[in-house]
Symmetry: C2
Subunit: 469 residues, 2 copies
């Protein structure tokens, strides 16, 4: 049951769509590739451009925030306080940097010369994330125009970083350093998408991650397998033996306590996932895999969205070159990643691997374990969270449709937002699975961008009520 769209919001958007599109094209011409040091000045130029656009939109506070003391690439911060002292505060997160453009020869038009083709705007960053983050000033102006307010119903704080496509190396530090300025009641992430054009949806969770490398050591040097083979432990055999035990016959990870904190799917969540028009055979074809696999009792979508995993990302040891070398090798190595779901803790997973590993090794095999940093925490917003319900209403109203829920199997800086700002994270994004983000011919659907602005315009007054202090 959705509320009817607001004609005043729609009228404002219709009147201002062309100006929005012109602005976006201008912004997309700036090649703000954060992964290429040669483009660092462009990322700065992009920050300045966006700051100017926010000032033009009426934001009274606009700042370019340096990272790593100026050695990193800048984020843009902007704030528009509500004039209602009891209004909640919302942080809107996105990024203004873009992916590299290789392989350039596969683009049908130059990546930084955006062109409109029918309903679509093609160019690097159109969907990820400039087109989406730029719908916020538009949506906010629509909100003001439709309600006759001079300031927004909620205090809006925009935080748009410039290093997301490079792994957000300074983002957690920036959040901690600016925690006071960023204090808020909810975080709205605008860097995701919907299921498809006809199925608006909201992402409710992202998986976390723990990454490690395991080193196995047998004899102190490679041994001739004629002289020693069959009588000393082989670290490759030991590694195979250990890693074969990583999953049980039901596809479950065998680390002790691994599932203890996993929040199981509710019946309603399962039902909603099942209602998504998902074609598993098409999904497998897209994966170029001839079969599915994984934890018993879960569908493919449930497996990648809602279940934790242990994946071997790499393995090596002994003779790996041409021809044969009949040795008992001295060393073996493996890289593992664990995808985590709420409420798993990367630190607890590290401890579990340490407890699990040695018991599975034969005598004569030494091991050590390196974890890459502290990992990434998973994040999830429950379906009944008031902020998520507000987003659901806003998106449903804009799309005039029922809204379903998705999750992300990957991991992003969103968990840092939730962690450092101690606020729930909700997702408002209108990208499509075929937007070719990170690939040649990135594009975005212009009508969907306007739907995103419309949803934002509905969201602010709704949140003002829902989260009223």
């Amino acid at each position: 049951m959705t509320t009817a769209p607001d004609p005043a919001v729609r009228a404002y958007l219709a009147d201002n769509a062309k100006g929005y599109l012109d602005d976006l094209v201008e912004w997309l011409r700036i090649p703000s590739i954060s992964g290429d040091p040669a483009h660092a000045p462009d990322v700065r130029r992009s920050a300045e451009w966006f700051g100017g656009a926010l000032r033009d939109a009426g934001f009274p506070i606009v700042e370019v925030w340096e990272t790593d003391g100026g050695a990193g690439l800048p984020a843009v911060f902007a704030e528009w306080p509500s004039n209602d002292p009891r209004a909640p505060t919302v942080v809107v997160y996105g990024h203004h940097d873009v992916q590299p453009i290789d392989p350039i020869e596969l683009w049908d038009s130059p990546p930084f010369e955006p062109i409109v083709v029918g309903d679509q705007l093609r160019g690097r960053g159109a969907a990820d994330d400039k087109g989406q983050i730029l719908f916020h000033p538009l949506g906010l102006r629509a909100h003001l125009a439709a309600t006759g307010r001079t300031g927004p119903a909620v205090t809006i704080k925009l935080l748009v970083e410039g290093e997301e496509e490079s792994g957000s190396p300074h983002f957690a530090t920036l959040l901690r350093d600016r925690r006071d300025r960023l204090s808020c009641d909810v975080v709205v992430v605008t860097d995701t998408g919907i299921w498809n054009r006809d199925t608006p949806s909201i992402c409710t969770a992202m998986r976390g991650m723990a990454l490690c490398e395991i080193h196995f050591r047998g004899p102190a040097g490679d041994l001739h397998s004629g002289s020693f083979g069959g009588a000393v432990p082989n670290p490759l055999t030991a590694m195979a033996g250990v890693l074969a035990q990583l999953h049980d016959e039901r596809g479950r990870v065998t680390l002790p306590g691994f599932y203890d904190r996993v929040i199981d799917l509710t019946d309603r969540e399962r039902e909603l996932i099942e209602r998504l028009p998902f074609d598993e055979s098409e999904w497998l074809a897209n994966a170029r895999s001839t079969a599915g696999a994984g934890e018993e009792g879960y569908s493919a979508l449930e497996r990648v969205w809602t279940r934790p995993t242990a994946e071997i990302n790499g393995m090596w040891g002994g003779h790996t070159g041409a021809g044969s070398k009949t040795i008992v090798p001295s060393e073996a190595h493996a890289k593992l990643s664990f995808r985590l779901v709420a409420d798993q803790d990367p630190g607890e997973v590290q401890a579990a691997v340490r407890a699990w590993l040695p018991a599975r090794l034969p005598a004569g095999i030494e091991w050590d374990l390196e974890f890459e940093s502290g990992g990434v925490r998973p994040c999830m917003t429950p379906l009944d969270h008031p902020a998520l319900q507000a987003v659901t209403r806003a998106v449903g109203r804009a799309f005039e449709s029922e809204v379903l829920y998705t999750r992300e199997g990957g991991s992003g800086p969103e968990a840092d937002l939730a962690d450092v700002l101690e606020a729930p994270v909700v997702f408002l994004g209108v990208g499509l699975p075929d937007d070719q983000i990170h690939a040649p011919n990135e594009k975005v659907d212009i009508p969907l961008l306007l739907r995103g602005a419309e949803a934002a315009a509905y969201l602010w007054p709704d949140l003002a009520q829902t989260l009223r202090r």
Copy 2:
């Protein structure tokens, strides 16, 4: 119970020891490194030199045999027929090429300027194999001198190859091409050693080998583990799962029928192996392994000498470089070697791997299997074989000591000799474990070389009786 040494043999050897040693030093000055193409002329010179030495010793037939139509390195063939028409024929096998000399800086004297230090002669090839193969003309002359014969008690055919240290690439072809010239009743291999100075011993077996590479293929390209991890099969996990099943909990290889043709140790063989003065902790220290491992119910020596093995020599797949890459990889690879014992057949092992592998793979993982050539057959001479008993008597008489038995865990061209010439293979060698063959400061014990010559002098009349047609 050994027969007393023959004073006439000993007198001849004492009188001719210096001449033998001078000849050996001359031969060792020729750097016949088969592994280095720059030394190919030296290998030819070595063959010519040895041919001349055999002519001087009285061999009526001496030929240099080209390999690979002259593109390979030459072998030396020499024949001295017995004048007894009922005498058996013996092929004596050895090699005149030597190992490379790197790392040259670790030699205490130049490798091709042999020097005598006490009882030892140091130089590349002193033990492996020039010193040993050169005791044959000396021993044969001692046999003639002591018995007053003008021709040997058995027909002697020497076959001394020039490519053994390079893996004998043309040897099997040479044997097949010259099969008629090499027809014989027994093959005596002189390229091995004894247990230690006080424990003369005879090698009775060598393990065979089958080598393969297994390729596992999952998704057609690497996949993002956030988007697909946990829902598609991972070829590294599949490889670990398969290879972890290569051995059962008792350390036995699980290939179907793998042990069917294995000739079990007799109680007498076990007892004789146990009588060797073997220090397992010293052996492990030498292997630089902190623990032993392997098939339940067998000692370390039994494992490396008498039991077949499956060893993973190398494994690789996915991301093996620095840092992390959170992928479900597309491919995984392993190199395996199987050491075989009599009467296992490398071809049957290949078939067993093909039958074993696919049943252990999950859906969605493709595989293929490459075997390196047809493998190497194991060889073994039973303790009660008349030729082996003759060698045992000859060695015991020369050393005035009981003779024990060893085996070789490695694989060599000896199996080709047995196979092509359809004759039993026995080993007569006097090297020591610390002769540093294949290493800097290779040396040989001069008194042991003379013991080898003496044993040969006793062996020929004994074999003439034992194998009399």
